[in-house]
Point group: C2
Chain length 390, copies 2
């Protein structure tokens, strides 16, 4: 049954090749000083940096640089970005990059004028952003696909000292005001990053799909999104410059995590919790940490959500059902998923990500335990899943 | 290929049983005078009227009544409502009803302070709402499901004198500011209205699905939505008080026509054009006019979009494909659709809606001709489809 909910997603999306110039419509809405957030400098090589700088200058903006956002943005970087924002009285934070840059921009947005320690408030105490919190508006120019951060109100931040990587959803008012999605901006991404992002999309849908006994419209939409990801991913790994495939992946990523397919239902998110703990120990690419623990996790919980896994097999993977038990159908669906993941070239174990057997107790210990999946795991089960993922 | 587009859908939705009380969060945002729009008075019988009045009074509102909105709102009614809005300097138009009430409220919203004749400007000349147009904000409390009007910027208005029924999409700023969707509010609707709404949902998706040669994420989402409608409709006709089925139908209706599944692709809308012309002649219920012409239309255009109709058969109706030609698969999908429509008890011909053979030239003549379907029809073909629909 669809539970009660409020849906509001006000982010304005400009989609398609050449849409960067739509900054000309958005920039005049904000004050003079723009904090330009980006990562390791790939946007300098592919020319996007120069295009953005020109558009900012054309619109009379004062640019405050804030580059060097790492793949898993750290709390120290958030403190630094918040100081930059405060000291410059920034009117708009413009993130140019992937989910890490967008997440980081949102974290700075709510932290810059926060009276308390933002890590404590938002990430350890999971507090919402108050209505009277002073927030700096965020805009995004997406160059990597996967996290959905361009149209939601969440951000994942890593605290290496505490060995914690935590995602928090701030609320409606922290959604980017606008996001620019040009599929051609993702062409130059290395294949490793591309497939990592593709699995991130797929897993976002899985996390929301594999929970609840109910028969919910969201699950039908999720099945459509998963079929689209599978289809387009197979084209994209053959030809990364296939505009249709890359644009479908970009669009699917947005809808996989902009709150739509979670409305009115419970959600799981344990693959993310375990994967993020692996990430906190290894600093591995987010999507790969999810891939590396997924098969062990889903095979572990499959008996507890058998009907849904059988539905997944039929509706997503076209598994023929004649003469098979529900168990067989469900298992065949997971086999199809595993084959597809290998076809993409995903990392299928945590050993290849740098995790070792002796890290397992620590990783399990820093795994945040959620209980809305088909099976509320014990810490022993997390250890077991991690061992099977070695 | 996904064409370029801008997506922005800022309507805030409150979904679920008991969500009417969320008016307490919305009403304080607007000025004193509320124009209360409703239809023929069913909301007085089922108690919704009293609940709304109490909430308006509790929030200190002055209520200006504007009831009697007909199933196909007329241009004369829009002129009258606009006068009421102007004379009372209305701050919020609150529509309580189905798509007709929501559409009417939006038409009044843009017409009240319009310096030109709104019928001429918006419906004959298809002009957009200018950025500087004075608009009265609209909120909706939905009591009938189908049109999707609760989360889009369009409105269908009928001009009986000119025998025209025209839908126009005004733009982002005319989207309802909020909509309240309580599935239990739809329980008391007569079955005829319920199934009419269900087919309206399904046909909205068809209109957007059956166009373009491309392989678009939107089409995958559409397939998921169609499967959800088919599934839940079969439960709802057996038990109209099945909360899960009615809530899924309500939610699907919103997403079928809130611009999502049309993004980046061409769309057809000829069933609506022909159906609306039938409606202008017969004043029949909107969804039934669509149902009555659909099978003739889709069988007519099937050869021109054969691959898509075969995909529809496989992905929506689970048609087995072994040993069959594409033509056979496509035809079987349409047969499945026809069987389901009959199962719902839809009106399958225009004769039962009051149309006669001699009306056909007039109906064809007032059919607005669009050209983005699989076949750009001639007027002769419209006549042929109408004859087959008799």
């Amino acid at each position: 049954m669809l539970g009660n909910f409020t849906f509001c997603n006000p982010t304005r999306l400009y989609f398609g090749e050449g849409s960067l110039k739509r900054l000309n419509e958005e920039l005049p809405k904000y004050g003079e000083t723009v904090q330009l957030v980006y990562g390791g400098g790939s946007i300098r090589k592919n020319g996007i940096y120069d295009q953005v700088i020109k558009l900012l200058r054309d619109n009379g903006k004062r640019i405050v640089e804030d580059g060097g956002v790492m793949p898993n943005p750290t709390v120290e970087k958030v403190y630094e970005g918040s100081r930059i924002a405060r000291e410059n009285n920034v009117a708009l934070i413009l993130a140019v990059g992937g989910g890490s840059c967008c997440d980081y921009a949102k974290a700075v947005s709510v932290s810059a004028w926060c009276q308390e320690d933002p890590w404590q408030k938002y990430y350890l105490n999971f507090q919402d952003v108050d209505a009277d919190t002073k927030i700096i508006p965020v805009g995004c120019v997406l160059t990597m696909v996967g996290t959905g951060s361009e149209m939601n109100g969440g951000a994942v931040i890593t605290n290496h000292e505490q060995k914690l990587k935590i995602g928090h959803v701030f609320g409606d008012n922290v959604f980017p005001k606008f996001s620019i999605l040009d599929p051609t901006f993702t062409y130059t991404l290395p294949k490793y990053q591309m497939v990592s992002g593709i699995y991130d999309i797929f897993n976002h849908i899985c996390e929301q799909y594999f929970s609840g006994e109910d028969d919910n419209t969201s699950d039908y939409i999720s099945e459509g999104l998963m079929r689209s990801v599978i289809h387009s991913s197979r084209i994209a790994i053959q030809n990364p410059r296939d505009y249709e495939a890359r644009s479908n992946l970009m669009w699917t990523a947005t809808w996989a995590l902009n709150t739509l397919v979670a409305q009115g239902k419970t959600t799981d998110w344990m693959v993310h919790m375990i994967g993020q703990a692996v990430g906190a120990y290894t600093d591995a690419t987010h999507g790969m940490t999810l891939a590396a623990v997924s098969m062990a996790y889903y095979r572990h919980i499959c008996p507890y959500g058998l009907e849904k896994f059988a539905r997944f097999a039929k509706n997503v993977w076209n598994v023929q059902t004649n003469g098979k038990t529900t168990e067989q159908i469900a298992a065949e669906g997971l086999d199809c998923m595993e084959s597809w993941m290998k076809e993409l070239g995903l990392v299928m174990n945590i050993t290849d990500l740098g995790a070792t057997k002796d890290m397992i107790p620590g990783i399990a210990d820093s795994t945040i335990m959620l209980t809305d999946g088909y099976k509320a795991l014990t810490k022993d089960e997390v250890v077991e899943i991690l061992r099977e993922s070695l």
